[in-house]
Symmetry: none
Subunit: 212 residues, 4 copies
DNA sequence: TATGAATGAGTGTTCATTCAT
DNA sequence: GATGAATGAACACTCATTCAT
């Protein structure tokens, strides 16, 4: 029985739990975007929400949990947008292009969130049990599937692994984004999409597939 | 009986300032490699060097400064090794392959240092004024030069920018490294080198340049 | 589409104040038994009762007050059971044995409550003004009375004070209980009862009182 | 690399590590005696020592560790005093009496420390690996040994276990102490010693051992 | 000069208690 | 009356940095 002596004095705006949670998540998302996940600090989240630090912990068990929620909500938002826009009747080149374009757009829009998921959550020992893992799988599997299909159908050679191709694509996207983040230069989503798609496609397609 | 203080018996090895600095840098580098830059702690550096914490600050103004020095020295070491091993008479494919192979080897050997530079230093607002920036430029320019030469000589097409190609190469390398760091899987330097080089080369070479 | 707030659908069971208080006390008692008084937390009590935290404070001024009420009610319950089971016509040995047996049974059955009273309430500066003090006195006085009667009737010697004997009995009981609580070993209520009773009886009875 | 902006301003008295540690231990011991281990708080220890909280953690990894050190040092102090004063040639009665007298003196002098060891440390999962466990064993084994010897030599009956007898002795001692601590009454170490020793001895000695 | 004892702002987290609705 | 969102003091613990000796 800890001995709490003084009662709270200041009374703040009352919000519904849904609103408050949404606000905390939204504020944290901004903070994450601005400063990176390493710098998301309880006190600052609380300050920006205009609530006490205790309130944060009413809704989220820990700062990490909050960050994970932010990542999840963001990821689900993204997935909703992506899923509805891929037409499986398209030519492989077009689908690949489309996926790369979307990834570039996403990462560019929320680089800090991407980084948090990539660098922090993926390293977690229980990552594979996390919801974000499933979400991420649903996302990356789209590219994997297209690449695999290309190989299976003989459109692509089979001398480079799907995972390496995927790393070239996503690695390039992230690299571009960081340069952009550091204000070392802007990049055009369309041009970059074309560049990556073309290099991958031309670099992988079967020699006999003569259509140039 | 009065409490006579015994004189200190510990005879600390007396090193010259240069030696001392070198030792601190070396110890910090080990620590960085072992635990990552987030976990490099003043007290541990001092302990392992057998010096006091204060000494660290005598030689380096702050922990950050020390880490930067470590990165710089490491980078210079690397550059020396790389510079001496590229034969400019080689075929472009071979030089490209060689550079990719070296980059993969470096990153794999010192992932924590790579990460520190990539994640912490590059994000610094004054990165462009830092020595490490120049060093990094010297390093990446080697790949840039080869790629540019390929375009200039008509070996490569000119519809994808050199910087994008470079990002595909380094981005892929880093992606692979993270997976490796997270213990999610090993990668073969040779196979990865072949994969990247082939995709880039096949994807970029002029159609008429028939030499496969 | 405007965001119409739906009316709350949860129909809380409407209990009379007496019933509500009884429920809170009962729930707290369970919690106390399960986790120890250090871990009885407002929010958990409220949760398990299906009421809000505020309600707890409507009925009880503080968590401490609630715990005290729990202890009191429990103690009264015990006293009712004990009072009705001692036959004052029994031989002193049997009555003593009976009381020790009951104490052991109680403590074993509700070790957390015992601990709360022993460790927390007894140490309070105003303990002597508390109801629990009176209740405890009524309880211990039963043993005191038997011991005093034994001395007065010449069954026991008079060279050891009643209070010391009582402390040997209760002290032993508590000691046994702690060992048991720490899972360092179980104890048999019957064997322990025999042990304590025999040592006390044989150790105190008049030499000439030959009736064993 | 957390971002610490402001340097410390106030400079305090410099003590040697030995002195500082000794002071912290001594202060903590006082605090423990005054308020019980539950109330030993970092900030208060620091305040009373006239140092900052950080200093405490320079010397002790945690508050718990500090408390354990306090307990250990105290226990060793005690053991030194006890060991040198038992003459194994004495009659069993005298040795038992002597041990009880010492235990009473110790517990009375430092009841909070006793309580900390008894209630907190003993409950620790790794208690059996702790130094304090060894120390405690050395202490309690002295009483165990005397009691066992009494049984083995036929001086005591064998119908009550050594552990129960030990619990009667120590339990009684603690009970007395608490009453004393609560200012509910004083007790004479000598009288209590006589009482306990006599009850145990008379209650346990063989009937035929006629020497009354 | 080098030392290392000391600093102190900062960080996440807990939980009894309050009071506007 | 009852609710429950919000409070805020408290607490353990960290670690880069300083400065008297």
């Amino acid at each position: 029985m800890p001995n709490h002596k003084l009662p709270p004095t200041k009374t703040r705006l009352r919000l519904s739990p849904e609103q408050r949670m949404a606000e905390i998540i939204s504020v944290t998302r901004s903070l994450l975007a601005e400063k990176g996940y390493q710098s998301v600090i309880t006190s600052e989240v609380a300050d920006r929400c205009g609530v006490s630090e205790g309130t944060i912990f009413k809704y989220f068990g820990s700062i990490r949990e909050l960050l994970i929620r932010v990542a999840e909500e963001w990821f689900e938002e993204i997935l909703g947008m992506v899923s509805s826009s891929i037409d499986s009747d398209d030519h492989i080149y077009d689908r690949l292009r489309q996926l790369i374009w979307q990834s570039l757009s996403i990462v560019r829009k929320e680089p800090s969130l991407t980084r948090f998921i990539l660098m922090e959550l993926r390293a977690a020992p229980n990552y594979r049990e996390m919801k974000i893992y499933k979400l991420n799988q649903r996302f990356t599997s789209k590219i994997n599937d297209v690449l695999q299909e290309a190989i299976d159908k003989g459109v692509f050679r089979d001398d480079v692994s799907v995972s390496l191709l995927r790393d070239m694509i996503f690695g390039c996207i992230e690299h571009q984004t960081w340069i952009y983040l550091r204000n070392e230069g802007d990049f055009s989503v369309d041009e970059t999409t074309d560049g990556i798609t073309n290099v991958i496609f031309r670099g992988m397609k079967m020699p006999e597939t003569v259509d140039y």
